[in-house]
């Protein structure tokens, strides 16, 4: 009898708890929801509408319907720019993330003056993009650039980095390694969040450096790695500035990235409808990728405080 009563009380309390929990959940995300409705949803839907029209900004828009998308899918440049961007995403992002992890482990060392090195590694993320791009045009210069000076120093021949269609994309990926600072800081915060007690326990159990890294550091760092991966993929699909300033999409369209082509459609040819259709195709691609990543994340991302466990 008593047992029944007890469980009855618990169920009742549990339900109330669930209801307050849901209410508070919506309440806490309410600022975001309001902001989304007021500032974001309208412009997003407007661009979706525009993607079905022909609109040259100064003239009134004309409805063309799905024909816009048919035209887009028959455009060779569209496919080329999608290929260039995919190359940048699928080769650049994993390398970038790996470099950031190495940097984070390095600046996590317990050395005197490590704060100086952390700052130095973050610096390239602070210098203006325009200044960076001018510097890199010179670094990749075939005759006077630092990149070729280095190759010649180790006994190799110089390359036409930004002038060779096969090398331009890899060159821009190499350049992106200079901006690992943000990811490095996030991973560093993740490393510092791992309780020291876990390492102490593992040391008592006789685990070596590799064992501790593999069984403690890496699993507990997966939430930060997952964050970096998702954000880097979303960002890399929108790679633009370097190609816009340094290569203008060349040579031979090898750095015509998706967003550069979209930008030209919008602000050089004033085909805002076409640009909007491109934007929504990219949106769907990135959304599918992100959803897939979240589905797969159950297998490799470990959360100490996971509600579903």
């Amino acid at each position: 009898m008593r047992v029944k009563e007890d469980s009855g009380v618990r169920v009742k309390r549990g339900r109330r708890l669930l209801w307050t929990e849901a209410r508070d959940g919506y309440l806490f995300i309410l600022p975001w929801i309001l902001g989304f409705i007021i500032f974001t949803a309208g412009p997003m839907l407007a661009s979706l509408y525009i993607s079905f029209t022909r609109w040259e900004i100064v003239t009134p828009s004309v409805w063309v319907g799905p024909a816009q998308y048919v035209k887009l899918f028959n455009d060779d440049r569209f496919w080329l720019s999608l290929y260039n961007t995919s190359y940048y995403v699928f080769i650049g992002v994993p390398l970038h993330l790996f470099m950031a992890l190495l940097a984070a482990l390095a600046v996590n060392l317990n050395l005197r003056g490590i704060r100086f090195f952390r700052t130095a590694y973050y610096v390239p993320s602070l210098t203006p993009v325009v200044a960076n791009s001018i510097l890199w045009v010179w670094i990749f210069h075939p005759n006077w650039g630092l990149a070729n000076a280095f190759l010649q120093w180790i006994g190799l021949e110089g390359l036409y980095w930004l002038q060779d269609p096969r090398l331009a994309k890899p060159a821009l990926i190499v350049m992106s390694f200079w901006s690992i600072g943000g990811q490095m800081v996030i991973l560093l915060a993740g490393l510092k969040g791992i309780p020291v007690e876990l390492y102490e326990a593992a040391s008592i159990d006789g685990a070596n450096w590799w064992g501790r890294f593999w069984r403690i550091t890496l699993p507990l760092l997966t939430p930060a790695l997952f964050f970096n991966l998702i954000i880097a993929i979303i960002g890399a699909f929108q790679v633009f500035t370097q190609a816009y300033i340094m290569t203008e999409g060349g040579p031979n369209y090898s750095t015509l990235f998706y967003l550069l082509y979209l930008f030209r459609a919008a602000f050089e040819n004033f085909r805002m409808g076409y640009a909007s259709a491109m934007a929504w195709v990219l949106f769907i691609i990135v959304l599918l990728f992100t959803t897939l990543q979240f589905a797969l994340s159950d297998r490799w991302v470990f959360y100490e405080g996971d509600l579903r466990r």
């Binding site: 600022p31 007021i38 060392l109």
Partner: protein, 284 residues
């Protein structure tokens, strides 16, 4: 004695190895900054000399005073500071609150709503530019700081909500449950349990938001029209066009602009690397 001495020797050598490796990479990664500094001290004609000179000859210190004279730099500084402080505060408060809900409370449609949050940074802003401008014009906010501040008080952006969520999810749920048994409300748990345990990520996002708003070029350019409202990032444009882009002056102004950020980063890192003290949880 012998083993002790050789162990100490190995440790010294190891430290030496690390310092050497770290320094080589620091040198490589600091190239853009060295370039910026060097260009900021050149004469106009030396700026694009090929091959470039790392050490300018002569060293033109007056670029700095000229840059400060050419544009209303200190006015831009105060505008920027005001925007950055209000924008960063809003981001920290509302993004962490939303992230707390997404990380630790159960409610219907939580996962789809979180994907909706992320989806807002997936659509290239080029195509939402004009409609967004129309929204702010309708609100009468053009040429005020409001478009740069108010949206950040409504959620603080997908990047920050996601980053907060990831870190909140690493905190053991037992802490919430213990507080809940003691009768704490969810708001109380967020403020009294989760936030104090999240100092590293709070500091990280504070620094990121500060730097982002400080350097932001695109949005101020669109929404701030009268020169007395300009931020430093768009004030620097003054060296373009009007003076047919004086790169050396622009680099001097850029250096002055990022110097405070360097100092901020250097000193803030002690907060974002202060490891979470899980004392009392060790025996779990």
């Amino acid at each position: 004695m012998q083993t002790l001495r050789s162990r100490a020797a190995i440790e010294v050598m190891l430290a030496g190895f690390w310092y050497l490796t770290l320094s080589v990479f620091a040198l490589i990664l600091a190239l853009p900054l060295v370039w910026l500094l060097s260009t900021s001290l050149k004469t106009g004609s030396q700026t694009f000399l090929m091959p470039p000179k790392w050490i300018p000859e002569p060293i033109v210190w007056s670029n700095y005073s000229e840059a400060f004279k050419a544009v209303a730099f200190h006015e831009y500084f105060w505008n920027t500071a005001r925007i950055v402080i209000f924008a960063t505060t809003g981001t920290l408060l509302t993004a962490s609150l939303a992230a707390y809900a997404f990380a630790r409370l159960r409610f219907p449609l939580r996962e789809p709503l979180f994907l909706l949050v992320l989806s807002t940074i997936m659509l290239p802003s080029i195509v939402t530019l004009i409609p967004t401008f129309i929204v702010f014009r309708t609100l009468g906010w053009i040429d005020t700081f409001l478009p740069l501040i108010v949206p950040l008080w409504f959620g603080g952006g997908a990047f920050n909500i996601f980053l907060f969520r990831q870190f909140f999810m690493t905190i053991p749920l037992e802490l919430d449950e213990a507080a809940r048994i003691d009768g704490a409300s969810n708001l109380r748990i967020y403020w009294g349990v989760i936030l104090p345990l999240s100092k590293p990520v709070l500091a990280t996002i504070a620094v990121f938001a500060f730097i982002h708003n400080w350097n932001d070029f695109f949005e101020p350019l669109i929404y701030l029209q009268s020169p007395e409202n300009w931020t430093m990032a768009i004030g620097l444009r003054g060296f373009r066009g009007l003076y047919s882009t004086e790169w050396n002056l622009m680099m001097a102004a850029s250096t002055a602009m990022i110097a405070p950020l360097l100092v901020l980063f250097f000193f803030a890192q002690r907060y974002f690397v202060s490891g979470i003290q899980m004392s009392g949880l060790a025996g779990r």
